[in-house]
């Protein structure tokens, strides 16, 4: 059982890392602030989600697992807000120049 859970963790966390890598590659390769914003928010949100799902089986208790999920939800909320704020600022800058 525990081997199976470890396997789930390894697979999920590795998949999450791939998305983080994708986000970073996008950050470096995409041409401007707005497209980079896409790369960072979308890829990192799902990357963090997969890492969290992967870590839940390793949590000592149900409470710890739920705490991990709370972390992800809060990051999603923050990411949704921050991406809009940055996008607006970038758009305004683009308008004025």
């Amino acid at each position: 059982m525990s081997v199976l859970l470890d396997l789930v963790t390894i697979v999920m966390v590795s998949a999450g890392m791939v998305f983080f890598l994708a986000g970073t590659v996008g950050l470096l390769r995409f041409p401007d602030t707005l497209t980079r914003l896409h790369a960072l928010t979308k890829a990192d949100n799902i990357g963090l989600g997969l890492v969290v799902i992967g870590l839940v089986p390793q949590a000592g208790s149900l409470r710890d697992g739920l705490k991990l999920l709370c972390v992800w939800l809060l990051v999603l909320l923050a990411s949704a807000t921050v991406s809009q704020l940055v996008a607006q600022a970038a758009r305004r800058e683009g308008d004025s120049s």
């Binding site: 986000g23 497209t35 909320l77």
Partner: protein, 168 residues
């Protein structure tokens, strides 16, 4: 008068319950934890009612659960979409702005909608459209691919979300 008060009370109970649930996750379920938790949850619920009055909005839990699943799927697609573009040596991007015309007035629903769609594939909301002109009232979206059927997708999301948060 009476229905409004009922709605207020129901909102207060629901929010206190949710915040209390959060407290038990964070602080534990010992006797002292629970006692303090009721006070803290009531306090936080009061803050919540001050900041977000129950108003005419109602959240339907069953549809909300379905929407969360849809949302999970969409955010996986969003991640895959970005990853595909980032790793593709040709860098297939056609970035640009589109204006999504929405009938939603500024408020909770519209804010929830923009927050929700900021996590979907290919779109990031970039603020309201200029107040004057043909696009007035719309939301500006920045898209990775302006040729994709973005507006249709957004309209579908708006319908889905409207089933969860609706005016009574």
């Amino acid at each position: 008068m009476a229905p409004g008060q009922n709605g207020d009370r129901r909102a207060a109970i629901v929010r206190t319950g949710l915040l209390f649930g959060l407290w038990t996750i964070l602080a534990g379920t010992g006797v002292a934890d629970l006692l303090v938790g009721t006070v803290v949850a009531a306090l936080a619920a009061r803050v919540s009612l001050n900041l977000l009055s129950p108003g005419p909005h109602r959240v339907d839990p069953a549809t909300a659960a379905r929407l969360s699943l849809r949302f999970l799927l969409q955010s996986v697609l969003a991640g895959l979409d970005v990853a595909r573009r980032a790793f593709d040596p040709r860098l297939p991007l056609r970035p640009g702005f589109i204006v999504y015309p929405t009938a939603a007035p500024p408020g909770l629903f519209r804010s929830a909608f923009t927050a929700f769609t900021s996590l979907l594939p290919g779109t990031v909301p970039a603020g309201p459209a200029p107040a004057r002109g043909a696009d007035a009232g719309g939301i500006v979206y920045h898209c990775l691919d302006v040729d994709a059927p973005v507006a249709a997708q957004l309209a579908a999301e708006e319908t889905a979300l409207a089933g969860v948060i609706r005016d009574e």
